[in-house]
Subunit: 257 residues, 2 copies
């Protein structure tokens, strides 16, 4: 079984947490894939370069200069730092953007109604599963950032949760797969203010009810939709948890159809 | 035969020259590897971030922040830009730092007599030739920057000419190999001020004489030493030329033992 694991900015931004997480990740036996998000380094670099963050509907506009910044930070600094740290732990990591080996194709989001610039949405059949499974079969651990490409020479900033979900769903078509979405909470919470209120299992029906009753926090909706899509497409184990719980399979929230 | 090609900052910095070079490179039939240098983007970014360039004996000191800058620019911005451009040309490029797949191991340069910081020298046996030749056999085109690693978690800034030479020499052990070092001149010049004075062939004996008589420009000495090492280690064709002459095998200077 291939373990697909996604980490976000809260881990990437915290050297101690990253160090500890990579110890755990490297110790996972068997094939694995890591997908990492961005973190605050890109915002810091943008500010230092005098680029103004332009937000529309809470989302960042990725103009040409911002694309350069996220490419530098996600595909360069963070990706290579993680790869070097994994190599030091005996894990033969290989860092990839979506352009490398044509791993992940995306399409630029339409400019109407809002032009988000160089932001891409994943193409359902856009994962080069042959390339990824080939690397995995040879013992390599792909480490993916969310910078993808349109196959026509343009890099696109995509969502790391979507990349992780699509990679797991695509791999599930050729091998047994599990996915763990790590984030800053211990799991899906019944009470967003109470970290001890983790819901151990969320099913599709429960999600529909929770959504109707407003019991699910706004930011959790796309995460749970993504997780449920993984279940629907044959990913055998789907979990949302704190990165520190990677090696504790019973921790966090398991998502089932 | 695998064609190993090295380009420097003069191409990387010039969008039109890069575009034209990548057209030529993509049209090369058969297996190929591209190694790219840095260019002025890292200097620009360092300045924008207020980092002072510290030079000793004409070489840049790579402190921690400068290492981050070159990792971002070389392994992120430039590498992924080239990969996306090659993908658009139907060339299945895969961008790699030396840490990815443990492709290139280096050792940090000793701090005595000058501490250059995170600068690495290549280890003779440090090229993961099995990984590179495996990618090549599968039809991928590795695109390498000169950010390598020490296998203990530290990235190191290395010399792109050395990376190119070492890759060609290592590949020559498992397949027929050629290398083209592209730079800003049309070849090795008899008169550094006259671009029409290209010396068509330089042998080891000629180099020794030229060096003794002072006929070889300072910057050409390590380039020719590197080229001659390639010949000595079985690289079949070794050429130094302008990037625009990539597809003209008779242009530039051929180096022979």
């Amino acid at each position: 079984m291939v373990n697909v694991v996604k980490i976000g900015g809260n881990i990437v931004d915290n050297p101690e947490a990253l160090d500890s997480f990579l110890n755990d990740f490297a110790s996972l036996s068997g094939p694995k894939v890591l997908i990492h998000g961005g973190g605050k380094e890109a915002t810091r670099l943008s500010k230092a370069l005098g680029l103004e963050a332009r937000m529309v509907e809470g989302r960042r506009i990725t103009d040409r200069q911002t694309l350069d910044v996220v490419t530098m930070v996600y595909a360069g600094l963070i990706n290579k730092r993680i790869v070097a740290m994994l190599q030091a732990r005996g894990c033969n990591a290989i860092g990839l953007s979506g352009a490398d080996g044509n791993t992940i194709a995306a399409t630029r989001r339409p400019a109407d109604p809002v032009d988000f610039g160089f932001v891409g949405d994943l193409v359902p059949t856009g994962i080069n599963v042959g390339f990824l499974s080939g690397l995995i079969d040879q013992g390599y651990t792909p480490v993916l950032c969310a910078i993808c490409h349109d196959k026509n020479g343009t890099l696109l900033n995509c969502n790391a949760d979507s990349v992780a979900g699509n990679v797991a769903r695509s791999l599930a078509g050729v091998m047994s797969a599990a996915i763990t979405f790590c984030f800053e909470k211990p799991g899906v919470l019944a009470d967003p203010d109470d970290d001890s209120s983790v819901i151990p299992v969320v099913t599709g029906d429960m999600f529909a009810q929770m959504r109707e009753s407003g019991a699910v926090a706004k930011g959790m909706v796309p995460k749970l939709q993504n997780a449920l899509s993984c279940c629907a497409d044959g990913v055998e184990h789907v979990r949302i948890c704190d990165a520190a719980a990677l090696l504790h399979p019973d921790a966090g929230t398991t998502v089932k159809i």
